[in-house]
Symmetry: C2
Subunit: 237 residues, 2 copies
């Protein structure tokens, strides 16, 4: 079934980079500087909680297309106000925190995985991060893709089918020739619904210390991989 796959499309936040550690650290620096007594890791969780609902409002046409930075900024503003620190965190702090999503550490095994897969496949980034955000992020993380294929190019967000199908169309391949790799069940579900092949890559620490990451066992997918090297092996790379 996977013999036709020519393109491997990677989700980024949580799948190739450790967003939770990166955001927690950068939030922690601002909180320390402003003497804010909040748990940065819990704040990162709350911020991320607003991610899917914010994108859903775009996909449901409740609002016009908005860049991920804009959604991050809005949810950050709301959260800071909710926590009673709206007046403590400056505009430049907020800009810096939104930009934190442009600079996150790769998982230690991501680079080797991408390198192995690129020998055999065209390997692209397919994330809800904006095109420019992803270019910055991938470069800073030292990762190496054959192309950046942001959902921005479809002006809609995953899990909407167009986000996946626009990438396939731009790459001039059929949907079954694309294997979507993600650490989130909702992304795998979206890719499967759009007709792509799917690989769930388990990233146990993806949601940080307080939450459980999605598990392969709970996800319908063509490949269930417990680690990066397991994925590469299953793809004969």
């Amino acid at each position: 079934m996977l013999d036709d796959v020519r393109v491997v499309a990677f989700d980024i936040f949580g799948t190739t980079v450790d967003w939770h550690t990166g955001i927690t650290e950068q939030v922690g620096e601002v909180f320390a500087h402003r003497r804010i007594d909040l748990d940065p890791a819990a704040f990162a969780d709350s911020w991320r909680d607003r991610y899917l609902p914010a994108m859903a409002r775009v996909n449901n046409a409740e609002r016009e297309w908005a860049y991920l930075d804009t959604l991050h900024r809005e949810s950050l503003n709301a959260l800071l106000t909710e926590h009673g620190v709206g007046s403590t965190v400056s505009e430049s702090d907020r800009t810096r925190l939104v930009r934190a999503w442009h600079r996150l550490p790769a998982w230690p095994d991501s680079d080797e995985l991408l390198t192995r897969l690129r020998h055999r496949y065209t390997v692209v980034a397919l994330s809800n991060g904006g095109f420019g955000l992803l270019v910055n992020l991938v470069k800073a993380a030292g990762s190496s893709f054959d192309a950046i294929a942001s959902a921005e190019l479809a002006r809609t967000y995953k899990p909407a089918p167009a986000a996946y199908l626009t990438a396939a169309q731009l790459l001039d391949v059929a949907r079954r020739e694309v294997l979507m790799v993600a650490a989130h069940s909702w992304d795998i579900d979206g890719a499967r619904a759009a007709g792509l092949c799917t690989a769930f890559l388990q990233r146990p620490a993806e949601k940080g210390p307080y939450r459980e990451a999605d598990r392969a066992a709970d996800t319908i997918c063509d490949i269930a991989a417990t680690s990066a090297s397991d994925l590469a092996t299953q793809l004969a790379c």
Copy 2:
């Protein structure tokens, strides 16, 4: 003036890859196989001659957006008929020849140039080749960019301003933060008219043995580079 530059955008055909040699070789293979007594290098020239006029018809709204492969196919069909070999060259030959533009050798110094520049800048491919074509081409040539930013993303062709400005917008930078590098005066003129910074990179063999390549001396640009290493040096990379 160039202190603001953050992104270096490279033209591809002729600037980082040697289209003339690659097309001549692949045309030559088909001609030899079909016992066609035409000069492949001259045929490559004639084919390329139809490149700018075909794209101009899209940009002038004389026809709908059409992918570069489609334009290449149409001009190939017309040329083969003109040369009286329309019945000798099969459909699969034609498909192979159109795909020849997906597989061209890099100039020997392109890889080192891109690597040097990537230490300091975000380096992208900005060509009239389609997104998928460029991904294939860059991968086969062993080149390494931070992103592929095809004119297809603007659904218009260089030298129309939107082709350059869409790339800047997607990368979330101002037009003066982009330096366009090309070996063709018409591309440099288009980029300058769109408000980008410009670097002309001389590629003396770019048009093959029968024609003279564009020269820096005839081109208005911010940087005139006589070679890849000259360009890297002028950019302090």
